[in-house]
């Protein structure tokens, strides 16, 4: 770097550039918020779906699975699992997990959910599936 370019010039570009791009980011985020209602299906969120999201979180499902591609990569994507297995299929699968696991295989815990809790989880997963996420995942296998 030549002598003409001084430290104080570098500092000013740093402050100016940071502020400019942060404001641009805020503007984009603001615009996103005005567009989201058309995509995130918020009008459909019921107390049951909220309960399902809470169960999803308090059992740390995301510690093994992905949801819309985010989370852990140990177990299948669940953002579209209701499309893969159907509502009843998903509930039956969760219910049927053996307490001691499956010998030698990646095992999912038995959470002992009540039927109402299973309904809430499925309602949440259906809601996630209904979000307009630009056609992701590429196919039904997630």
């Amino acid at each position: 770097m030549s002598g003409a370019f001084t430290k104080s010039m570098a500092r000013n570009i740093f402050y100016g550039g940071t502020v400019f791009f942060f404001l641009l980011f805020l503007a984009l985020s603001f615009d996103t918020h005005s567009q989201l209602p058309k995509r995130d299906m918020r009008q459909n969120i019921t107390p049951q779906i909220a309960e399902g999201k809470k169960l999803w979180e308090t059992n740390d499902c995301v510690g093994c699975h992905t949801l819309m591609g985010e989370g852990a990569y140990f177990a299948p994507e669940l953002g579209n699992v209701v499309a893969r297995y159907g509502d009843e299929g998903v509930k039956a699968f969760i219910k049927a997990r053996p307490k001691e696991g499956i010998p030698g295989r990646r095992s999912m815990p038995q959470f002992n959910f009540t039927d109402a809790q299973l309904d809430a989880l499925v309602a949440f997963l259906k809601h996630v599936n209904s979000v307009n996420d630009a056609n992701w995942p590429p196919n039904i296998q997630g």
Binding site: F14, E70, W136, P138, N139
Partner: protein, 458 residues
């Protein structure tokens, strides 16, 4: 040591290394569970081991950042720390909180832990990397604020260098963006949108300021190059970081329900994010080549150069690999992501912490540098860990490419678990390479305990 109060850095560094060992042990458990699915099941399910692995990582990096700042700031500000007592008290609070949190993860089911720790008051748990109970999160905020108060007051009463300023901005940013971890709306799209304000704006934003400041400090000390030159570089690097990285957040807004224009904003800006990492590499090599002195601590210089190279590889190259929207459509949430996550975290933040520890620890122990024998061991650990992470990344990348091929790009896509079975060989190779990493880490720890003729205090 120029200032007595710099000594508070020492317990932070020791605890950081201890947590690093715990992180890697749990990494090996996870890696084994990938191939022997029911290993330790149902006592330590995968998600629990993963929380310990990632949270231990984050906490030890934070410990390292704090220790590093407590060491650097008095020397930069040319004055004693505002309150060494506060720094020590915060250390113990942080350590005990971390230990209790890990005990909670391991001893009670997660849902019970959530119920016990006030998650019903404010639901923040159960999101990746932010799994900590509410009280732990509040504890982190308290510790962070006390820490920031302490170092900001030190800078205010002393000399204000550019390095201190960039470091302070990075650390304040870290605390501010952590606040988004308390915001968890029912609307899952909004939840995900703001989750990234913590996660992405940390690692590809404010943490890079901390990284740059640490690197600049160690390079000034070890090369003797003029401060004006180094600080000018630092400003250029952090400028490039923030003008690319802030809008680069968009590379996480492709497939989570956010508008599709993010595919353009995210792809273009994040594709430029490797530039600051490249600049860091050039910076580190340039300064070392122009050095005006031969610092006796060769290991610290090696770590500094390694940080530049590995951060560029892990964040720059492996980040670029999957950051363009059409590519990310296929690679999103696969082993490619894990490959990148490992090399980027190691190359940037593990290595910069080990750089500052390598430089400061001998001085904190009353010598300019460790004995030759100890440094040779430390350099062995550098190569073992670094080569291991390169191979872990390569094996995960191979696994990821096959996963995408079998499960996503194929005309007859296979179910997730069927595809996983077919690529198990690569998980085995990752696990064995992980053992090499652990050996490297143990050599690193051992290097602190070998004696020999030491360089006298400067």
């Amino acid at each position: 040591m120029q200032y007595k109060s710099q000594a508070v850095a020492k317990p932070y560094f020791i605890a950081a290394i201890g947590l690093f060992v715990a992180q890697i042990l749990f990494g090996l458990i996870l890696g084994l569970q990938y191939v022997i699915g029911d290993f330790l099941f149902p006592h330590i399910p995968f998600n629990v081991a993963r929380m310990v692995h990632t949270n231990a990582l984050i906490v030890w990096l934070l410990m390292g950042f704090m220790g590093g700042a407590y060491y650097m700031i008095p020397e930069e500000a040319e004055t004693e720390l505002f309150s060494p007592k506060l720094a020590l008290a915060m250390f113990w609070i942080f350590l005990v909180a971390a230990a209790l949190t890990v005990a909670g993860y391991l001893l009670v089911p997660y849902s019970t832990l959530a119920a016990m720790t006030g998650n019903d008051i404010l639901e923040t748990m159960g999101r990746e990397f932010l799994e900590q109970p509410l009280i732990t999160k509040v504890g982190i905020v308290i510790v962070a604020l006390a820490f920031l108060f302490n170092i900001s007051m030190t800078v205010l009463k002393g000399k204000k260098t550019s390095i201190s300023l960039v470091l302070l901005l990075g650390l304040w940013g870290l605390a501010v963006f952590f606040l988004f971890s308390f915001y968890n709306p029912v609307n899952v799209v909004l939840d995900k949108f703001f989750w990234w304000w913590t996660v992405h704006l940390w690692v590809e934003g404010v943490w890079e300021l901390i990284l740059g400041a640490f690197l600049a400090f160690v390079l000034i000390k070890t090369t003797g190059v003029d401060r004006e030159v180094i600080e000018k570089w630092l400003y250029v690097i952090v400028t490039l970081t923030l003008i690319t990285g802030i809008i680069g957040t968009g590379h996480h807004y492709y497939w989570i329900g956010t508008p599709e224009y993010w595919q353009w904003w995210g792809s273009i800006f994040s594709a430029l994010e490797p530039i600051p990492f490249f600049a860091m590499t050039v910076f580190a090599f340039n300064m070392v080549n122009r050095r005006r002195r031969e610092h006796p601590n060769k290991a610290a210089v090696l770590w500094a150069l390694g940080t530049g190279v590995m951060a560029f590889l892990g964040a720059g190259i492996w980040g670029f690999l999957h950051t363009l929207a059409p590519v990310n459509y296929y690679t999103h949430g696969t082993q490619i992501t894990a490959a990148h996550g490992h090399m980027a975290f190691y190359g940037a933040y593990v290595m910069v912490n080990l750089t500052i520890i390598s430089y400061a620890m001998p001085i904190l122990r009353g010598r300019a540098a460790n004995s030759n024998k100890s440094q040779v061991m430390e350099m062995w650990s550098f190569w073992l860990m670094t080569i291991a992470i390169v191979f872990i990344t390569l094996f995960l990348t191979a696994a990821g490419i096959l996963q995408v091929w079998l499960q996503r790009a194929s005309d007859t896509p296979l179910p997730f678990m069927v595809a996983q079975d077919k690529i198990a060989l690569f998980y085995w190779m990752r696990e064995w390479t992980g053992v090499v990493f652990l050996i490297g880490l143990l050599v690193y720890v051992a290097s602190f305990f070998v004696g020999g003729r030491e360089e006298k205090a400067a």
